[in-house]
Symmetry: C2
């Protein structure tokens, strides 16, 4: 990574580094809504009681390598420390602003498997659903404890992904918390990337070379077909390249909730059947 882009550039003052970071960052989505939620949360926890408020940050941050980001450098963290600490801060009487990486561990869910919906529930004989016996206590307390904290107004969850979102949201939280003075605490458990690529320097991918690349892959890896798509239209349209023909497959928009995968898998399944038949001759 380019030394110029390091967050901690030895040649610059800390203030200059901070300014350079925020100047280079892409605009944060819905910053107005976030500020509103924060102000309501802080006011609610200040009006009736002078509750202490902690901002817990949790999980890894990503440094994108492209503007329409596919590749990024991730500073991995499961978020276990942040989620667990949030539970204990709530028990200790704090209100918690939980600034977490999307997909990281959530408070009250630590003892559950990774995919709790599919792993903790099972169908009954009458095609209803029930919690598996092994997980009944853990699932119930996760849902009850979580909703109690949220409904009680003591837990505000704010998700982030990139280093840009993380630091911009942390700045907003810092400004919103000013009014409560020493009652505020920042407990920064997120794994923060120590560099970033300035937004304006990121290269975009060229969509015009899509079919050329698909055909090159077909030949190089000796495949029967390549399904090519552009990032922006990937849910509406794909092109199946076989070396002999290019078939454009479109989502059927005449019915609601249709997927482009429906005609795509139909096409591939039919081609596969023909291939099996031809091989057997």
């Amino acid at each position: 990574m380019d030394a110029e882009n390091k967050l901690q550039n030895e040649g610059q003052s800390l203030e200059a580094q901070v300014k350079a970071f925020f100047d280079s960052a892409p605009p944060l989505n819905s910053s107005h809504e976030i500020t509103q939620k924060l102000n309501q949360f802080i006011q609610r926890n200040s009006s009736s009681s002078a509750r202490r408020i902690v901002c817990v940050t949790s999980g890894g941050t990503t440094a994108p390598l492209e503007q329409r980001c596919v590749r990024y450098v991730d500073n991995f963290s499961s978020g276990h420390r942040g989620a667990t600490s949030t539970e204990y801060f709530l028990k200790a009487g704090y209100a918690v602003i939980f600034l977490y990486r999307r997909g990281s561990f959530q408070p009250f869910c630590r003892s559950l498997p990774e995919d709790p919906l599919l792993e903790c529930f099972e169908p009954t004989n009458d095609l209803n659903i029930q919690v598996r016996k092994d997980y009944s206590e853990a699932v119930k307390s996760a849902i009850v404890d979580y909703h109690t904290a949220v409904a009680g107004g003591h837990l505000l969850k704010l998700p982030f992904g990139t280093i840009f979102e993380y630091l911009q949201m942390l700045q907003i939280i810092g400004i919103s918390m000013r009014c409560i003075g020493q009652r505020a605490m920042f407990y920064l458990a997120a794994a923060v990337s120590d560099y970033y690529v300035p937004w304006k320097d990121m290269l975009e991918t060229d969509s015009s070379i899509l079919l050329k690349k698909a055909n090159a892959a077909l030949e190089k890896y000796k495949m029967h077909a390549v399904v090519a798509n552009e990032l922006s239209t990937r849910k509406e349209q794909v092109v199946v390249t076989t070396g002999v023909d290019n078939i454009t497959v479109l989502r059927d928009n005449s019915e609601p909730a249709n997927d482009v995968e429906k005609p795509l898998i139909k096409l591939l399944s039919e081609r596969h059947a023909t291939y099996i038949e031809d091989s057997g001759r």
Copy 2:
């Protein structure tokens, strides 16, 4: 990234590149179990019927930058294409081996929110739980359809994280699928990293500099305390550095299911109370 480590090195034959990759890869965990599961799955779908079998790969792959990996380059993909295609392959009568990135989209769960357990369920008045009305159909069909596919022996899910795990598992699947000939299909929807850092070249972090770094951070960022931990013992022990003292906080192992966060948050909460009190004088 070093051009030497590119998967597609122009100077080498494809075979030599493949060999270099597998030679450099760290050993795959539980490869024996994976092979067993695969063989059972393939046999089950071949004995009574000659069902076609597709291996669907899904989600992004990571290229680790360290052996005990914290930082990695990720080739992001939500896994939507792979999960959706899996549903349609099952409907088309295929058995599906779903090789997916941990945390990516799962078949039958597309219409649910990101965190279905906490978002789709709510506590009842008697502190039991129920599905929220808006999600009742989506949740029920996700669980029923998923379990029907798994219980019917038509869906085998295998998770991966790194590019090493992905390609090693794909190789095992390829070998296991040989016996079914043309009935096999590979539908490779995963976003595969086009480079990697050879395992032996990765640098390890030095744990001896932990407290030195913690103290430097304390000073540079003007914080009141830094909680320092080593990766391997982070759930048992942390050191709280305040510039005045270093307090080692240990998990209480006398009770089961205890967390190091319990005494840690107690300590921080007490210090915070003292700080508020002192500020008010």
